[in-house]
């Protein structure tokens, strides 16, 4: 039984970088990854922006050593790349040395291929290449990542909309705490698809100018894609292997808003409960939180509900906060892990990365986000970070990551 769960490795691929180093560089340079849609033909090209990974699928095949293969989805390739980086970053070479699990998360699964299959199939049920549809389910990308890393002990997938990969971190941490695993690779992957683009577009929550989280004039979110994974290890393994620790997963909370299938409640009940539980588990007081990486999608509804919930938790002392979705877009099932990696970078570099595209504070709230790269004030180290992820179905989650 491990009371504490440590992060010993991180990996990421998103619109602002193909690995941790590039991502950090863009974060520091305040360079957004939002741009024109290039990954698939769509009538929304040139009208609605997206935050795509700047590698084509064939680049990704090459990068993951799968050149020439035709049976891998973009979602799975993004996952393989980020998970491999996380494993290397944790200095793990023998995957069998300890009981090792993989908990991944996704919302679209292999939709990037199956939407193409479906177009042919609809025209003629005997048509459509089967290699384009066999990878449709959410478990596919996880099993591809598992076999890429050689993990067979405990492998599963979570899908709770936009909170999916925070829940993967939470479940993985619980498996270590209860002694079922010694270490676990946790995270998520999602690629951009026509399906999600059109889906979110019907809800009229895609900002045509790119997202402006927590801004009075925000007009919606910007879809992104990517993958991020973290390696979690038990106290025992970290002790035995004399591992460098990047951060500690010190608390987490999951709650359901139980208000509406897609909209968040006006008083942010679910968000409030998730944050409250996470802070309570960490043994901290709200005043101990030094920075909040907010969910901050840029929709009218989310940012208001999340802001209200933060004011309920922190009162007049809301800590510095920012949404990093202006950089990465909203990577859906990967978002929680992407933002956990960014939060680890905040701890390691003692620097808050800003909320891009902010100009006017929201009139309902008394708070405004951090808007420029902010290195720590030496007298106020960044010790504890709260990171939020909320999703459809009222699925709200929060984690606390701490400097060790």
């Amino acid at each position: 039984m491990s009371k504490r769960v440590y992060i010993t490795g991180i990996g990421i691929i998103c619109a602002i970088g193909n690995n941790v180093e590039q991502t950090l560089h863009s974060l520091l340079a305040e360079r957004s990854g939002i741009g024109e849609i290039t990954q698939f033909p769509t009538m929304h090209k040139g009208i609605i922006p997206m935050a795509e990974v700047k590698l084509t699928t064939s680049d990704l095949l090459k990068e993951t050593g799968n050149e020439g293969r035709n049976d891998l989805t973009r979602t799975a390739l993004l996952g393989m790349k980020a998970a491999r980086e996380a494993l290397l970053s944790a200095g793990i070479h023998d995957i069998r040395a300890y009981r090792t699990g993989l908990i991944s998360a996704t919302t679209v699964g292999g939709m990037d291929r199956s939407e193409g299959f479906y177009a042919s199939y609809l025209a003629d049920p005997a048509k459509g290449r089967m290699t384009d549809v066999v990878n449709h389910d959410c478990g596919d990308s996880t099993e591809r990542v598992a076999s890429h890393l050689g993990i067979t002990d405990f492998v599963t997938t979570i899908s709770t909309a936009c909170s999916s990969s925070v829940n993967a971190i939470m479940f993985g941490a619980n498996l270590i705490k209860t002694g079922q695993l010694d270490r676990v690779v946790v995270g998520g992957n999602d690629s951009v698809t026509k399906f999600t683009l059109n889906g979110f577009n019907t809800l009229m929550i895609l900002d045509k100018t790119g997202c402006h989280p927590f801004d009075e004039n925000r007009a919606g979110l910007t879809l992104g894609e990517g993958s991020a994974f973290l390696v979690l290890e038990s106290e025992e393994v970290v002790g035995k292997e004399h591992k460098p620790i990047l951060a500690e997963v010190s608390g987490y909370g999951n709650a359901n808003d139980a208000y509406h299938q897609t909209a968040s409640s006006p008083d942010g009940t679910g968000a409030f409960l998730a944050m409250l539980k996470a802070i309570a588990m960490s043994g901290l007081q709200p005043g101990d939180i030094d920075y909040v990486n907010v969910h901050g999608t840029g929709t009218q509804n989310n940012d208001l509900s999340e802001g209200v919930a933060m004011e309920r938790i922190f009162g007049n002392d809301v800590p510095p906060f920012s949404s990093t979705k202006g950089y990465t877009g909203h990577t859906l099932g990967a978002a929680g892990a992407v933002e956990a990696v960014i939060s680890v970078l905040t701890i390691l570099h003692q620097t808050i990365f800003p909320n891009l595209n902010f100009s006017t504070p929201m009139k309902e709230l008394h708070i405004r986000p951090v808007v420029a790269v902010t290195p720590r004030d030496p007298s106020l180290p960044i010790r504890h970070i709260l990171s939020n992820s909320f999703g459809f179905g009222g699925n709200n989650s929060a984690i606390v990551l701490s400097k060790v």
Binding site: Y118, L122, E143, N254, H260
Partner: protein, 374 residues
């Protein structure tokens, strides 16, 4: 982990069989699989439990079928656990957590949105089917209808989606995080998913008499669907069926020997050996290619054990093991094994102490679940 026991204190099962009688316990019109339904078919669909009883009328029309199945099964389960039971004066059964598993999720709504996006070339789309297409819709809708703000998770991993949910649910109870959990598995079959999986060779080409599934030697199996929910609790009470002892999953075993090794390790974690298991419920589905995996394990460990199967009743789907869990709980509570599920002539041990479920999906995802007598 602590040694807090986990009891199954309520069942709700929407399936192709008469398993969803919603009368209070003791007033059921149908008994335990006494009137099994047989079809000449290669697919089985759930019997509609009468959704009006469980879901507000204005919601029924818009809701996808899997959502209705899941909501109905969860409400049947809570009622079975004593919610509003006049005999005991009723008791509060608001779940501390809702955890679900689904292999393919809300596939009907996914198809609907995809089809209209393709046909209308990305124009004139409405959001309802997109909103309902996310995999966590069943758990989200249950929370919404119960006004349940607790822990809420959805697992979506192929043939172990339900087992993953069960693993988490047990952990929530055993760590003392929750005193009870509503946990379930659901999957729906659609005309398109049936057709596409047919092309992948999943189903038998010619229809079979479903109750004689194991007598048919064509490749493939019969498609099915279902929604089965369980109320897990840290205490035994008048509603209890059985104790949920444990669950374990593994991916792509390298050899039959690895499966045997995993089985022995799993049983020994409860201080048991294969000989202590009174009944084994196998995921036999009539596909000679993958049923071999079960036969191998029976050969080495369960030659003299009573064996049962269930996919002739509910068909094959990613969360079919949830149906098997319902079966195991019923068997332990009634201490009887219906004729229709028996595979061999070995008599189950009396009293029946431990029931093991062994299921695999396409010889890829494997799982053991162990239930024990109260």
């Amino acid at each position: 982990m602590t040694n807090i026991p986990v009891y199954i204190n309520g069942l709700g099962n929407v399936s192709p069989q008469k398993t969803n009688d919603s009368s209070p316990p003791g007033h059921r019109a149908t008994t335990f699989l006494e009137e099994p339904l047989s079809f000449h078919a290669s697919q089985l669909r759930c019997i509609d439990p009468g959704y009006k009883e469980f879901i507000p009328a204005e919601m029924i029309r818009r809701m996808g079928r899997i959502i209705k199945m899941g909501v109905a099964a969860s409400k049947l389960c809570l009622r079975d656990a004593g919610a509003g039971d006049a005999a005991t004066g009723g008791r509060a059964v608001t779940p501390d957590a809702i955890i679900t598993g689904t292999g393919l999720g809300c596939i009907e709504d996914t198809e609907k949105f995809l089809a209209s996006m393709i046909k209308n070339n990305e124009e004139f789309l409405t959001p309802t089917s997109f909103i309902q297409s996310t995999h966590n819709t069943v758990a989200g809708q249950i929370a919404l209808l119960l006004k349940c703000h607790g822990y809420n998770f959805t697992y979506v991993h192929r043939g172990i989606s339900f087992e993953s949910a069960l693993t988490d649910a047990m952990m929530q109870v055993q760590t003392g995080e929750c005193s009870n959990v509503l946990v379930g598995g659901s999957d729906e079959l659609t005309a398109n998913s049936f057709a596409i999986m047919s092309r992948l060779g999943y189903w038998k080409r010619k229809p079979v008499e479903t109750l004689n599934l194991l007598d048919d030697h064509q490749r493939g199996t019969i498609a099915g669907e279902g929604a089965s929910f369980f109320f897990l609790e840290n205490e035994m009470n008048v509603y209890s069926y059985a104790r949920l002892a444990g669950v374990t999953t593994f991916l792509k075993p390298a050899s039959p020997a690895e499966i045997i090794e995993r089985l022995h390790a799993f049983l020994s974690s409860f201080g048991l050996t294969a000989g202590d298991v009174g009944l084994v419920i196998l995921g036999l589905n009539g596909d000679p290619r993958t049923d071999l995996v079960y036969h191998n394990l029976v050969e080495t460990d369960f030659q003299n054990t009573s064996l049962a199967y269930f996919k002739h009743l509910c068909g094959e789907y990613h969360t079919a093991s949830a149906f098997a869990t319902w079966l195991a709980a019923m068997v332990l509570k009634t201490q009887s094994v219906p004729e229709i599920v028996r595979v061999n002539f070995n008599e189950p041990s009396a009293p029946l102490e431990h029931v093991l479920i062994y299921n695999h999906f396409q010889d890829n995802n494997h799982a053991f679940i162990l239930l024990s007598r109260l």
